[in-house]
């Protein structure tokens, strides 16, 4: 038994996107409410219909949203663990809630405001951190005993850590900065005609190579932007979806997780086996997702690949089977990822690198629009869209959406 085609995404709503910290006086709660109500309205539903939360990265507190919006009853409130890796998988969690009869109308969302905190900021501060202990809200405020092993390493941010994966990939397979540049340029081109995109100036190869290196081999343009905003999507049963306002977008297959020893991966672990150290960590997830959907990479019409760092697009092209392992650079060189004429258009919305960074939800929104046929950069005859979350610590996730 699987959840294949048993549920459909029927509504999507979003706030505007702002540069980091510029969304005040909005709050994460106010933006979440706006996005949820917009998604319900898009579907032709109201707050009376909503009864579940299938989220990731603890994106909101269902208790607070439930009381703020006056929901009649919350019947399902669950989050995938870890961080942005769960964004695509939150649709699978919504489908699981619905197909198991626990809820009927489930929202997945992210709301993000980076006023006082920066996701890309330092993980090891000037002073010893005041919290830790494995992330349990019931844990002590003790400094984790494992911290001292790495606190003098100088690895402070996700960017530093993804640089390590990238350097290893370059060493093993001959991947070059030119390949990363082509990802950035392609996605920038896709963002140029989008009113919602934050980076809208054309990008040239020379400009890419003039950009400041932050941590070898990654430059400023390989790093995601930091932005504020919220996006929500609403999922219901395939049966119920037939009578709603929008053309249903069916959830064909969804998987989250990773190999056990992918673990927390680049963030604290670094003991991943050699065979998949220089990867996106998605290989086992990709396999399960395709098996559930009964399709393969050749059937996918558009790929919305999580791109907090450009090289992770390249590694996901490999791990999702669009090209062999190690061939990502050459695959990009051959023009395969371009919206205009590529064999598998990638991040047709500009992605985190050029449109906005709402921790993967812009990718989910674009996948839905591509399947509805309403995307700004619409892939012709798009039937199947792949959307992914992560690379990050376990779980990472992938979901296949299908046009009605």
């Amino acid at each position: 038994m699987t959840l294949k085609d048993k549920t459909a995404v029927v509504g999507v709503g979003a706030t505007p996107y702002w540069k980091r910290g510029q969304s005040a006086p909005e709050t994460e709660l106010s933006m979440a409410c706006t996005a949820i109500l917009a998604a319900l309205d898009d579907a032709g539903l109201t707050i009376k219909d909503l009864d579940g939360f299938a989220i990731y990265s603890n994106s909101c507190d269902p208790a607070t949203v439930g009381q703020t919006l006056g929901m009649e009853e919350v019947r399902f409130a669950a989050t995938l663990t870890s961080g942005g890796g769960g964004c695509a998988g939150s649709l699978g969690l919504a489908a699981a809630a619905i197909t198991s009869g626990q809820a009927e109308c489930v929202v997945s969302l992210m709301t993000l405001q980076q006023l006082n905190r920066r996701l890309g900021g330092t993980q090891v501060g000037d002073a010893p951190p005041s919290s830790g202990g494995g992330g349990s809200p019931y844990g002590s405020n003790a400094i984790p005993p494992g911290l001292a092993y790495r606190s003098a390493s100088g690895l402070l941010s996700p960017g530093h850590q993804f640089s390590l994966l990238t350097q290893r990939h370059m060493h093993l397979y001959g991947t070059k900065r030119e390949h990363l540049a082509k990802i950035c340029i392609s996605q920038r081109k896709n963002a140029l005609n989008r009113p919602t995109a934050i980076r809208k100036e054309p990008l040239t190869m020379d400009e890419y190579f003039d950009a400041r290196i932050l941590s070898d081999p990654l430059c400023l343009l390989d790093y995601t932007m930091e932005t504020d905003g919220a996006i929500a999507v609403v999922t219901v049963s395939a049966e119920r979806a037939k009578d709603l306002k929008q053309k249903p977008v069916y959830i064909m297959g969804s998987a989250n997780g990773a190999a056990g020893r992918w673990g927390s991966a680049i963030f604290t672990y670094f003991q991943m086996p050699d065979e998949y150290f220089a990867s996106s960590g998605h290989r086992t997830v990709a396999k399960r997702m395709y098996e559930m959907a009964g399709v393969g990479p050749k059937d996918v019409d558009v790929a919305l690949l999580y791109d907090h760092f450009s090289p992770m697009v390249l590694m996901q092209l490999e791990d999702y089977g669009f090209c062999p392992i190690g061939e990502g650079g050459r695959f990009i060189d051959d023009g395969n990822i371009y919206f205009d004429g590529g064999s598998i258009p990638v991040n047709t919305h500009g992605g985190h690198l050029s449109e906005a960074y709402i921790i993967g939800m812009t990718h989910v929104k674009e996948a839905i629009e591509q399947c509805r046929g309403t995307a700004i950069n619409q892939v012709k005859d798009c039937e199947i869209a792949l959307v992914t979350g992560g690379p990050a610590g376990l779980p990472v996730s992938g979901t296949l959406l299908r046009a009605a």
Partner: protein
Amino acid sequence: MSELKRGVFPPTQYDPYADEANQPFWDAALKGKLVCSKCDNCGTFVMSPQPRCFVCQHKDFTFVELPGTGEIYTYTVVRHPLRPALDQVVPYVSAIVNLDGTQGAGARMQLNVINCDPEKVRIGDKVRIIFDKVSDTLAVPRCEPA
């Protein structure tokens, strides 16, 4: 904070805040020795100490001294100072180092590579793990070209 030196990432803690399982590593570090926990059942090296062996799930480990050398598995040269004070420290090299004497499943450490030319560091370079005593209770690990 101690005096800043280009290429040397300054300590951010002055005590390991170690629990019982981790204290032997830091005791050895104060003596300039690199030790690693080794599974009593199957011999797998686990860095840092964990409650269970990831190969055989046994829970008993013994700390053994390693040669104290290793090889750069991957690295980055950090050029942008994430905190203002690091302006005097960048560029510095941070690496994942495969530790000699733990071959097989392998054990790695995240280390600042010092006493090197950041432009010449490469994957596969041999390094030596060194300890910098920053307080009576903590010697921080770094490495330098061997």
